[in-house]
């Protein structure tokens, strides 16, 4: 059951303000001058003070995964005798404005953090439970998007869907939680969100049920040895990359008191698979590219029945070396088709 409404931009701004008293509101925000190059802006997920801070015209550089899986999170504090789990700084619920691909992206994180091998990650879960999805309708692709090929262009997992128009906002409200608020703020309307049905970038996924083992050592991956610089931007910008490393931090000179943190790590970064004794799996960048590629479009599917990659295209947006993941998938599929 859902109801639909139309709000003027002003009514929406007021409603936003009203929501701010009870919720934290997060969404893509333009941060002036914070881009990698001087004089450029950075669009990233952040808490919003008002509706006009919502950036709707540019894809965010980083994904909303930071809301459920922060780059650096303290898990517990210890003092040699006992430990205390870290609590969240507040118990606010969070309304997050995000697009269908990112909703699907967080679904992939859910599988990893909540369903994988029957283990529930409590630190993820407590953040995840605070989220309310306000879906930004996405009818047109940004550069490098290939969500349609990944079947991540659609979703029904949202409490509110919004179409932002010139001077108004149309919304579909599902469930009871927000319906009264919207009913009071605007007038009834007929609105159902549409979903982008075609991207200029298309990928053809490998059809193999079981990958031929030869492809793992194939020369196909060698070109990435010299192209990839292991900066890790594809990992940090990816909505579905969920790898982290744990590290203990001791306070001052103490050898007893400190805290344990988990910090983002990524398969393209140096040190990711360093072992005690100095052994490193996947020393070459091509091997890291292979590992990522198969995880995103093959291994994950075998475990969870759905591909990990949602085709948001951020890895292509941010790669300083112009390595394109969508091109990699297509080249791989062509290679497999042609026979090894």
């Amino acid at each position: 059951m859902s109801e639909s409404f139309r709000l003027s931009a002003e009514q929406f701004a007021q409603l936003f303000e009203q929501l701010s008293t009870a919720y934290l509101l997060a969404g893509p925000k333009r941060i002036a001058g914070a881009g990698r190059f001087s004089g450029t802006d950075l669009v990233r997920y952040a808490f919003l003070k008002s509706a006009d801070e919502l950036e709707l015209h540019e894809k965010s550089w980083f994904s909303p995964k930071e809301l459920v899986f922060p780059p650096d999170e303290t898990l517990f504090y210890f003092n040699g005798q006992q430990f205390t789990e870290a609590t969240l700084p507040d118990d606010h619920e969070i309304i997050v404005f995000l697009r269908p691909c990112d909703i699907n992206g967080i679904d992939r994180l859910d599988r990893m953090f909540l369903e994988n091998a029957g283990v529930v990650d409590p630190y993820y879960k407590r953040r995840r439970e605070r989220l309310h999805y306000f879906m930004i309708e996405c009818r047109e692709s940004f550069e490098n998007c290939f969500c349609v090929s990944m079947q991540a262009n659609r979703t029904s997992d949202y409490e509110v869907a919004l179409r932002f128009e010139e001077n108004s906002v149309q919304v579909e409200v599902c469930g009871q939680k927000f319906v009264d608020l919207f009913a009071r703020a605007g007038e009834k309307a007929e609105f159902k969100p549409e979903f982008v049905s075609e991207n200029p970038v298309r990928v053809e996924l490998p059809t193999e049920e079981t990958m031929p083992p030869e492809i793992f050592n194939d020369k196909f991956w060698d070109e990435y040895d010299s192209r990839c610089i292991a900066c890790g931007r594809c990992n940090t910008s990816c909505v579905t990359c969920s790898c982290f490393t744990t590290t203990d931090l001791f306070y001052g000179d103490s050898r007893q008191c400190g805290e344990r943190r988990r910090v983002w790590d990524g398969c393209h970064l140096d040190g990711f698979c360093d072992m005690a004794g100095g052994h490193t799996f996947r020393k070459d960048k091509g091997e890291r590219m292979r590992f990522k590629t198969f995880h995103k479009i093959y291994d994950f599917r075998k475990r969870f029945g759905v591909d990990m990659c949602v085709g948001c295209g951020r890895c292509d947006d941010v790669c300083p070396e112009y390595i394109s993941f969508s091109n990699c998938i297509n080249k791989l599929s062509a290679k497999l088709k042609g026979g090894l």
């Binding site: 914070a34 190059f37 001087s38 780059p71 650096d72 990992n235 931090l249 983002w264 790590d265």
Partner: protein, 336 residues
């Protein structure tokens, strides 16, 4: 009729005496070394019509058109009008008669690296600053060399100028966004000064070592490093080539705003006017400072300036260079 020339007047008009009797060369100012491509055809047409059809790209990013007969100066000046209009007047230079050529030639073309319009390393739009300086300083008759560079890589060779302006940034660290990947630490120690080090999985920045190049911002995969908004500069002064005492320019002001840079250079022009030895054909600014001493220079050029917060000034200055009278250091390798 024989040529009867007021040499000083034509020199001030940006024409020079050349080896070839009765022929001159015109120097065309291109502030920041950036211009509309269409102006090239105007300049080329002048070279073809009045010169020998060739033109020289100068070390300061201007053009010099050789082999122009002195008697055709007024025609050349008229043909230069659109160039001067676009590159000087439009940048704020006040010129009474645009068709009369350049109103001065003392201050050399203000050069700049390609800057942040193109280069990922640049911290500021160097072209725009060069153009602003052109508007504020030109014309003046003192031989002053200024260049603007976008980062401490110093591609424009700010270290060889009277005023070398290096655009820098103040890196701001977001502790929570840092994943300790060490990309910035590696970049800083490999390419810069090693101002960054790891402490407990996070990055510590030694402010006294940091030169504000922005490599950490470029390297960071999580945007934990960003530039504090507002352009900052390091101003190097009194570098020079020349026959007497070539030397590198050295940092005089650090972390100063664009307005401070412009004000200091304007004050310097007034300082030169007060102190220059007019018995010499042209005394270079560096030698004037050598004569008056740094303290007098400092007092006069910093007077009345409202500094931005965080601005710093050098306590002393030592210029690495050498006096060219060093024959004693040479020994004969081969007699003849």
């Amino acid at each position: 009729m024989s040529l009867d020339l007021n040499r000083k007047k034509v020199t001030k008009n940006a024409y020079r005496i050349t080896k070839r009797r009765n022929y001159s060369a015109i120097r065309i100012r291109v502030p920041g070394g950036h211009l509309d491509a269409s102006l090239i055809s105007t300049i080329a047409a002048i070279a073809e019509k009045f010169g020998d059809g060739t033109m020289h790209i100068t070390t300061r990013q201007g053009f010099e058109i050789p082999n122009i007969p002195f008697e055709r100066i007024s025609e050349v000046n008229a043909a230069l009008a659109p160039v001067i209009d676009k590159l000087q007047v439009k940048n704020g230079v006040v010129i009474e008669t645009v068709g009369a050529g350049y109103p001065g030639a003392g201050m050399r073309n203000i050069s700049a690296c390609i800057g942040s319009r193109v280069c990922p390393f640049a911290n500021a739009d160097t072209t725009a600053l060069a153009q602003r300086l052109e508007g504020e300083l030109f014309p003046n008759d003192f031989h002053v060399k200024i260049a603007v560079t976008g980062c401490p890589n110093d591609c424009i060779k700010a270290h060889m100028q009277d005023f070398g302006i290096i655009s820098i940034c103040e890196p701001v660290y977001s502790y929570d966004d840092c994943i300790g990947c060490e990309a910035c630490v590696k970049a800083c120690s490999r390419k810069v000064t090693g101002a960054l080090s790891m402490r407990d999985g996070k990055v510590y920045r030694d402010e006294r070592r940091c030169i504000g190049c922005g490599e950490c911002v470029l390297a960071c995969p999580t945007a934990a490093w960003t530039r504090r908004p507002g352009n900052l500069y390091r101003l190097l002064i009194m570098g020079r080539t020349g026959k007497k005492n070539p030397r590198l320019a050295m940092p005089f002001l650090d972390r100063v705003s664009e307005d401070v840079v412009c004000q200091v250079i304007r004050n310097t022009i007034a300082y030169i006017d007060r102190h220059i030895l007019r018995c010499l054909p042209k005394e270079h600014i560096g030698y004037i400072v050598d004569r008056t001493g740094l303290e007098v220079f400092k007092q006069e050029v910093l007077a009345g300036i409202s500094f931005n917060k965080g601005a710093r000034v050098a306590k002393t200055m030592q210029w690495p260079g050498y006096h060219t009278l060093n024959d004693a250091n040479f020994k004969l390798i081969k007699e003849s």
